[in-house]
Amino acid sequence: MGKRSMWSFKFTTASLVLIPTAVGINYIGKFFASLLKLPLWLDSIGTMLSSMMAGPIVGAISGAINNIIYGLTADPISLVYAITSVAIGLTVGILAYIGWFKSWSMAVVSGLVVGLIAAIVSTPLNVIFWGGQTGNIWGDSVFAFLSAREIPIWIASFADEIIVDVPDKIATVLISYGIYKGLPRQLTSIYRNDDEIKEL
């Protein structure tokens, strides 16, 4: 039997309980990043891991719930960025399904793709809610620099977002991929989509 389609997923109890854990891992990633004063957010490790393990739908739901919970417990504005998190979950799930996570170099390329997609989705939100800024010093300096040269707001805002998002997403994909590779079979096998069972 071949692989089932990546969209056909059954809401097994295992994939359902993976969602809160993914949100928790996101939270911890963000906590460690600020503990170590790293200039990255690293707050989507859980979303990406759940996408790699259980597919794009579970990843997308993890992303959405992550921002809803974060919006309701810490930062209200992050509610609107739930859309970006859904996009990240979907993209990583699809890339994992078509086999892009085979090597470290492919993982870097995947990180680039995820970062670009996250930036494309976030830019309209930044323009609508923040007049184009991201709230990150480096990104906003670029935004100010480009705006001063009368570059259209959409391009300036996209550049602002890319500078923030792409390095963060590449780092997050690499960390998630590294963890995923190291996970024992015992933990990953319950989420596998193929029906094939091999005796050891």
Binding site: I25, I28, F32, P76, W130, G131, S147, I175, L187
Partner: protein
């Protein structure tokens, strides 16, 4: 059991309003100022949501969130005041740096909108018990399984954070340093996140089995532990909030 929640006990009228009405209120405070795109609508919603926050008695809790966002909003004023693409009319100047009227007004609109979103979301999170919120959504037709996911997140995060403390202590006792050069700090990330992820995934597998043996997948109709008090004016308020939204969309397209 510890849960992640910002709920503040209280008996104000806002506390008595049902969660669904509050969610609709949050949605319209986000949407209407964007649909209308006017300074007046943004200002009106800020006043309304601020008044409600004061009535609910949670204004002190909202201030830190407002303060945190204000730092970013200062940069919005500077950047838009200087470089907004419609800038025509000089407003004031500091030395040779000229701030323009159009940009400052645009920045003001952004600020009013952001503050009203913060106020309305705060209203929801400070005056609603998370468990009531989830239960209200499930009664409205949200899958109880997704409802479980929401309430479970609020319990799992404090649990995982206590595991994190153990992991930090363990790795420190093995000589890991969390301060120092950038490369040292980034190298410390993996030995911290790795064990946290693995231990939480092992818990996940156990939790799945524990749920299964308690008939989590049963297809029988779920019942509720709490009957819950119904809010008398919920329907009236919800219908009027949604009508306001529809009117604003119509107004926008008429103009």
């Amino acid at each position: 059991m510890r849960t992640l929640s910002l709920y503040q006990e209280g008996d104000s009228i806002i506390h008595k309003i049902d969660p669904i009405t509050k969610i609709i209120f949050v949605l319209i405070t986000i949407l209407i100022p964007i649909i209308m795109g006017t300074l007046n609508s943004a200002f009106a919603f800020l006043i309304i949501s601020l008044t409600l926050v004061i009535i609910a008695g949670v204004i002190k809790k909202v201030l830190p969130i407002v303060g945190f966002t204000s730092i970013i909003l200062v940069t919005v004023i500077i950047i838009q005041g200087l470089y907004y693409f419609n800038n025509r009319t000089p407003f004031f100047a500091i030395g040779t740096v000229v701030f323009y009227k159009e940009g400052l007004l645009y920045a003001l609109e952004i600020i009013l909108r952001i503050y009203s979103i913060i106020n309305s979301v705060s209203l929801l999170m400070f005056t609603t018990k998370p468990s009531d919120l989830v239960e209200a959504l499930v009664k409205k037709g949200l899958s109880p399984r997704i409802g479980y996911v929401f309430s479970s997140v609020l319990q799992i995060i404090p649990q995982m954070m206590s595991t994190v403390d153990t992991i930090i202590d363990a790795q420190r006792s093995r000589g890991m340093e969390v301060e120092g050069s950038f490369s040292r700090r980034i190298r410390a990330f993996i030995p911290l996140i790795g064990p946290a992820v693995i231990s939480s995934l092992i818990d996940t597998k156990e939790r799945a089995m524990a749920l299964e043996v308690r008939a989590f997948n049963s297809r029988y109709k779920k019942t509720f532990l709490n009957e819950g008090t119904t809010f008398k004016y919920a329907d009236v308020m919800q219908v009027s909030l949604i009508s306001i939204l529809i009117i604003s969309i119509v107004l926008r397209f008429v103009h």
